[in-house]
Symmetry: C2
Subunit: 259 residues, 2 copies
Amino acid sequence: MTKDVSFQFSPIGYIHSPFKEKIGMAKQSMMIPQATGLLKLNHDTRFQSAVEDLEGFSHLWVIFVFHKHLEKNWRPKISPPRIDGPERVGVLASRSPHRPNPLGMSALKIEKIETQAPNGVEIHLSGLDLLDGTPVLDIKPYLPFADAFPDAKPGWASAENFCYPVTYSKEALDSIKAATSAEYPQLKELLHQMLELDPRATALRKLFPIDTTANEGRQFGFRFLDFDVQWKIKNKGVYLIDLFRMNGTRDNESKGSHR
Amino acid sequence: MTKDVSFQFSPIGYIHSPFKEKIGMAKQSMMIPQATGLLKLNHDTRFQSAVEDLEGFSHLWVIFVFHKHLEKNWRPKISPPRIDGPERVGVLASRSPHRPNPLGMSALKIEKIETQAPNGVEIHLSGLDLLDGTPVLDIKPYLPFADAFPDAKPGWASAENFCYPVTYSKEALDSIKAATSAEYPQLKELLHQMLELDPRATALRKLFPIDTTANEGRQFGFRFLDFDVQWKIKNKGVYLIDLFRMNGTRDNESKGSHR
């Protein structure tokens, strides 16, 4: 067994997600229960049989490629997103995408399976923490007797998730109401879940924590669906200023901004 | 995004396991808690830092390649190992290795992490359900808040695992005593856990069920460590006849036998 062995895998399908960028996306699955999307399996008639009996399971594992990290070198130590956690941890003691093989796994909820969709099988999922366009290599049923260890020791990741209070301007509430569509009937709940977790890159979280008065009034933004979402730090919480409809030409690689 | 995209991954290490063949091996992780082995990471000094902070976690995900299934075509429907379950299910509704991309995942218990082992980092694991020589692509800490859904609906796999009663000949008990080594101080418990789950290939399980008197006296065997383990069906249970030390020349691909 030599170390230059390698294995090649082709996607069985791709994720269609409201998250076009990492900012605002949950760091783990099921943290934003309202986040829905779907896995479109490739057009291959065998998949119709291959997903039979899957609808009896409530949850599904998705094994995917961190496709934005393919060309990057891996780092032995990374900085976790939590501001109350350790400064740096071993990358294999984390779920960071900066790993030797940029593979990820998420346990998601199965909402609906459409085997007769025009372009192949579609699996509708919620609790999504995956970027739009994520290539999927495999899915597996979630088996509680093999996968659930609620008493497992969570190491450095043990602190509870902290949720910040979220408040809204009148303009923001009006915009949300106008933007609520058949596809996102619960847009407000979804935005709320995104905002209360602090929708910023790790560096900004650490540089400008929400829970000090020193950062009162600082503004941030991120892209979600086709909105530019603007918020600021107010009363040690998140205050949604407004959402602006973007034109379709904005750069797909935008990283959110700090003003 | 075309469908002929492919991604290439190299193992970060290999599994060293007492299971040299699938017969007798658990079908899911932690079903045989006594099954121990280790993951040897490749000799690369970066891994020493990369596993820092991992020892605080009790469990670990291992993402691996079903290396015996690389050249095989995938099948849309497979026959699950449970004799009380459905005849055939969709392969993506199963954990079968006959899948489009032969990737597997197992949640295992971390027993010990040796960062100063002479040939690189060694992670000692228990609850192992992996063949010796399995290539590992990634490891991730088990996060109970993201991974544990004890109330998830287990679909067709919902029936409890059935354990058969196990009894022993005097010869078997003597052989186990003689074979118990520093490496396997709890050989008897380990064998017991393997035997009570029915250590046979799926086809034999279904053809000759243990719990009918019609199969009384039928003998079976499997290879484990360097033993040929012989057992028979007795009183609707498993009766261990004896273990025989094998010479080292036996074919590595032996599939167990039915006599």
